[in-house]
């Protein structure tokens, strides 16, 4: 506990100021640089005096703009496509993770079955494995094992619809990336939701059963509304990871399924690093998670179960 006079201590404010500077500083730097020309950025004059320009944004968004900016000779960035890809992958993987996660967590908390403790423990252990370790085996599996024969019935149909040359594989598809994200985020989501489900009084479920609810109605009408804060927290977490993830996406995506973080890196080549465009894309990249978090965090209300049982 901090006593009142530690708050008045100048060192306390100095530490706070330092922390704020450390967290907000890069964002401000990115924001300012996104309005500078590359020459201004590289010149090192980190002064506040420069001529703001939206050229970087124009270049980053060149494929979605309705007009053709003069300074862009060739639109190499597929911002729109990458944005949609990121959105599809992040949203679907978040939804899937939550749906599977809340059911798994409920089962782990409420049902007694063989190997329950093992499952509970190993979910957490799996979480400890760094995603980079998964990269090589998953890359191999997605490219070679989980494939549909190009001459087969389904594989042929898919190839006729979407084109392509070889067998139809998981690698390079949205599903491939979504699948690995779900696997990656599920343990944490199960773990976090377990702690929320434990707090739902058992007598509530019993009351619902007596009132005539079947197992699924108990889950969807009583348990789920009560763990909404947990779901929101888990959703923010999952969405953010899926949105930011670079390593796995870079290996598993192809030209059409590229996500935003990979698009940014594409601005670096051996000849040139387009800092301005990178900063502009970075700013744009930050917007959806912020909106998502603002929306989801509204669901995080404490004291959801207040008044359920004696108090």
């Amino acid at each position: 506990m901090a006593s009142p006079n530690t708050k008045a201590n100048p060192a306390f404010y100095a530490v706070i100021a330092l922390l704020v500077f450390m967290s907000v500083g890069p964002v401000i730097l990115m924001f300012m640089n996104s309005f500078k020309l590359d020459v201004d950025i590289i010149s090192g004059s980190s002064g506040l005096i420069f001529l703001p320009t939206i050229q970087n944004y124009e270049k980053a968004l060149c494929d979605v703009l309705w007009y053709e900016p003069d300074h862009v000779d060739f639109c190499s960035l597929k911002f729109g496509g990458a944005f949609i890809n990121s959105l599809i992958i992040a949203l679907i993987s978040t939804v899937l993770t939550l749906v599977i996660g809340c059911m798994a967590a409920y089962a782990l908390v409420r049902f007694r079955f063989m190997g329950r403790d093992t499952v509970s423990l190993s979910t957490l252990m799996v979480r400890m494995v760094p995603p980079a370790v998964l990269l090589v085996p998953v890359f191999g599996l997605w490219n070679n094992e989980f494939c549909l024969d190009r001459d087969g019935l389904i594989g042929g149909a898919i190839r006729d619809t979407f084109g392509g040359r070889g067998d139809v594989c998981l690698a390079g598809t949205h599903s491939g990336i979504i699948l690995i994200y779900v696997a990656m985020n599920l343990p944490f989501v199960i773990w976090i939701l377990q702690s929320f489900i434990v707090q739902v009084p058992r007598s509530l479920e019993e009351a619902a059963r007596v009132d005539g609810a079947g197992p699924f109605q108990v889950f969807f009408k009583v348990v789920l509304p009560l763990i909404k804060p947990g779901l929101a927290a888990a959703a923010i977490f999952t969405f953010r990871i899926a949105w930011n993830e670079y390593l796995l996406a870079s290996a598993l995506s192809d030209r059409d399924t590229r996500t935003m973080p990979i698009l940014i890196v594409n601005n670096m080549s051996e000849f040139n690093v387009e800092w301005g465009v990178i900063m502009a894309t970075g700013m744009l990249l930050a917007i959806p998670p912020i909106i998502f978090t603002l929306f989801a965090s509204r669901q995080i209300i404490t004291g959801m179960t207040a008044g359920a049982v004696k108090g």
Partner: protein, 362 residues
């Protein structure tokens, strides 16, 4: 007719058996109270009737049909839980109508029923509130309203009043008694509070250690307990027990112990005479002792008054009789000084005898 019959009901948790063959029959529209100390199996019995616990052995019949394999929702019952178990994300009206909405009743019917039930328990102005914004007593009412709205044949109560403060408990007890007269349903009520049991029940079932000790009307249990446990459990303050021996002298049958020698009369004397063991426990309720200075010594106890507890119109005197403690209920006007040795006459009808080893009433 909606009778409930329990037949040799047994419950085991692993190797531990907590209910040892409960046989019980509850008639239509009867208010049955299961009462007993913590861990006696009363709540387990109720939860088995509700279908929330599995039956290890035996069968539950409702209206002659076995139901122990049915889900709770198929058993035509409503239950009020000890901790209320209200759905915190729904308001009072939604809580009350939850069962009806699950049953997909027409909207107008649900609305009418909610208003009707809310009116019965006095919740009309709170229908839009969430449980979190209600007081303990109001929450308890919501829990009861929810059960009432379901219109089931059987009502189960699992210690519904134990979370309320003493005053509110008394008030809710009275309301419950009124409600039970009005709705005329089969009610099974679990409590550890013998006063609740006495005031509410048509029939009391006293349980202890997973066995039914005795069942009957409140009066039967109070006046004719079958064993020492029931005698000590029913009634407040509890019955006094004095260990003694059956002796015969001066042409009468007496119970003689440390500090007392009480003559038995009538039927009791005959029973004591015939009883094969002389080791006996004498039981006398505090209310069956009356201060009477010139009482006949063979029909009275001489007690040293140690503590006097004033509780209003009555005072409870804690006295000593040899090594044993005896409680006496007297009118507060009785002039009693602590440390005095006084004579208290025993009401002849208030003498209970128990075998000291088996604790069974004679």
């Amino acid at each position: 007719m909606l009778t409930i019959r329990l037949e040799n009901l047994i419950k085991r948790y692993g190797d531990v058996q907590v209910l040892h063959g409960i046989d019980l029959e509850m008639a239509d529209n009867e208010f049955t109270v299961l009462v007993g100390p913590s861990g006696c199996g009363k709540s387990t019995t109720l939860r088995m009737i509700a279908g929330l616990e599995e039956v290890s052995e035996g069968e539950i019949f409702v209206d002659g049909k076995p139901v122990s394999h049915l889900e709770p929702k198929d058993r035509d019952l409503a239950m009020v839980f000890q901790d209320y178990a209200l759905y915190p994300h729904m308001n009072v009206a939604q809580n009350i109508s939850f069962a009806l909405r699950l049953a997909r009743r027409p909207k107008a019917e649900i609305e009418k029923k909610v208003r009707e039930v809310a009116d019965t328990v006095g919740l009309t102005e709170f229908l839009a509130r969430k449980p979190g914004a209600l007081s303990g007593g109001q929450r308890q009412r919501v829990a009861m309203a929810r059960a009432l709205a379901k219109d089931s044949g059987i009502f189960l109560f699992d210690e519904p009043l134990s979370n309320l403060d003493a005053k509110l408990r008394g008030q809710m007890r009275a309301e419950l008694a009124l409600m039970s007269q009005r709705v005329q349903k089969n009610m099974i009520y679990v409590t550890h509070d013998q006063i609740e049991a006495m005031t509410l029940a048509d029939r009391i079932v006293v349980m202890h250690g997973g066995y039914i000790q005795q069942q009957g009307t409140p009066e039967e249990l109070f006046k004719r307990p079958v064993n020492k446990f029931v005698a000590g459990f029913m009634g407040m303050p509890p019955m006094n027990f004095l260990d003694g021996e059956i002796v015969e002298h001066d042409g009468g049958v007496f119970v003689k112990g440390d500090g007392f020698d009480v003559q038995l009369i009538g039927e009791k004397a005959a029973k004591a005479q015939k009883h094969n063991s002389k080791q006996i426990t004498l039981g006398i309720r505090p209310s069956d002792l009356a201060f009477e200075a010139d009482a006949e010594p063979a029909r009275a106890l001489k007690l040293d008054v140690e503590v006097s507890e004033y509780v209003g119109a009555q005072s409870v005197l804690l006295c000593k009789c040899g090594p044993a403690r005896v409680m006496v209920e007297v009118n507060s006007q009785t002039p009693v000084a602590l440390g005095q040795t006084l004579t208290f006459a025993i009401d002849p009808g208030g003498v209970h005898l128990f075998d000291r080893n088996t604790e069974v009433a004679l």
